[in-house]
Symmetry: C2
Amino acid sequence: MVDRRSGVPAFRQVAADLREKIASGRFSPGEQLPSERDLVDSYGVSRPTVRDAVNLLRAEGLVTSEHGRGVFVRPPASIRRIARSRLSREARERNRGAFLADAAAQGFTPSTSVKVRFEEADDRVSGYLAIEPGSDVTVRDRVMRADGLVVQLAVSRLPRELTRDTAIEQVDTGVGGTYARLEEAGHRLASFVEHVGARMPTPDEASLLQLADGVPVITVTRVAYREDGSPIEMNDMTLAADRYQLSYEWAAD
Amino acid sequence: MVDRRSGVPAFRQVAADLREKIASGRFSPGEQLPSERDLVDSYGVSRPTVRDAVNLLRAEGLVTSEHGRGVFVRPPASIRRIARSRLSREARERNRGAFLADAAAQGFTPSTSVKVRFEEADDRVSGYLAIEPGSDVTVRDRVMRADGLVVQLAVSRLPRELTRDTAIEQVDTGVGGTYARLEEAGHRLASFVEHVGARMPTPDEASLLQLADGVPVITVTRVAYREDGSPIEMNDMTLAADRYQLSYEWAAD
DNA sequence: CGGCTCAACTGGTCAAGACGAGTTACCCAG
DNA sequence: CTGGGTAACTCGTCTTGACCAGTTGAGCCG
């Protein structure tokens, strides 16, 4: 039952009560919550109010609802760790890229689809690549799948001058991927920087990555630099935050 | 006007139309959207339907609504970059910690409040620290503020044995912070690992960090290791994803 | 002219009711 | 015993209507 005189909105009281019951384990992961009609009776509020409460919990990522079945406590998804800084030259020479290598190690069958296109650099891109706004940029748009499921989106951009007459403008870049072709062309890679952030997905991303409500995406912008410190490539990656963590390691001094 | 025969729910059509108008710039950042009553008229739907649409956009982080004022397009927050791997020994010897150093560099007045407590290690903590579940752990709970605003929560945990009779169990750990005291006690730090993820905030976190709807938090778990590879400290950090990005850098091989 | 009041906005909350659509389990006919 | 249909659940959508609670600005009054 809700307290009408407390000043706290009824749907927030209902949400808080359900949240507490989930946190304390009285509703365990995967378990079905009482039906909306039952909640209407037990809290003494109308159905829209109950639905407001459930919507709040859904936006927090605590529950999912399935049409015709019920509302369920979201079981914690198994989180896969992705170790970064594994872009060593030797590894590149052995594999077709980090993604396929990880896949083999972790026992799922990977696949990727790639689209290559060309565009003019906007302010963000030109800033990262240290080129003039409006210059030609080669864009490699990748969708990575594990067992058919989309797990990561990656958009790689390079100044067009660097990719002319190379396999980088082809769908299949060959053994070692883009970075190997760049080094063959005399652009030795010296360092990488990754900028990590998070945000809510666009509707497109949510459907592609099959994200439940209340699940953010992790965004990674990786920039590869030459030995003189000039940027050579940028790569925007998008991952489901309920399935992935990134791990970075470094020495203490 | 919504298309009733399309099969797409009305509130989603309204949301999609508003989203498109925002993306295309017809509603610019900071600008006020038409009032809910106006939207009712222009789309020919009821107010709860309009509110469902606006709620969707709020959960996506696209708009914020202010009681009595209106609904506004969320201007992109200025994102601060936090460079990691700045935990060098020399820097520690100069400062009281990375946070205060960054603050001074970026020109805001920092403050932190610390609570020290002791608890028994649960499965997660014992796993990270490689100790027996149930062993005593020293917990330092920090709230970091910039110009009075809470910007980061940090919870540091160490095996109790390491902190007895040291300043680590005091609120003020002195120059160089926890890591400096550990090294004085003969525990030389060799490496750090950070696990980065994201999720929606709990209601507590949302109010502490003053997060708008639809803004996730970035979670960082940093583990410090000795030279023999054994863990010595873990630190759970929580940041507002609309204000911070983490930057990691490493050499190509 | 300055300060206050109040009306007319804004979004926030809640009810009652109706129908649609997906899922599941049961029952009955073959 | 099996198969299919159906009834009874589930959540999804949408309407009408009402009142509350902040915010703002115009206009009145001192």
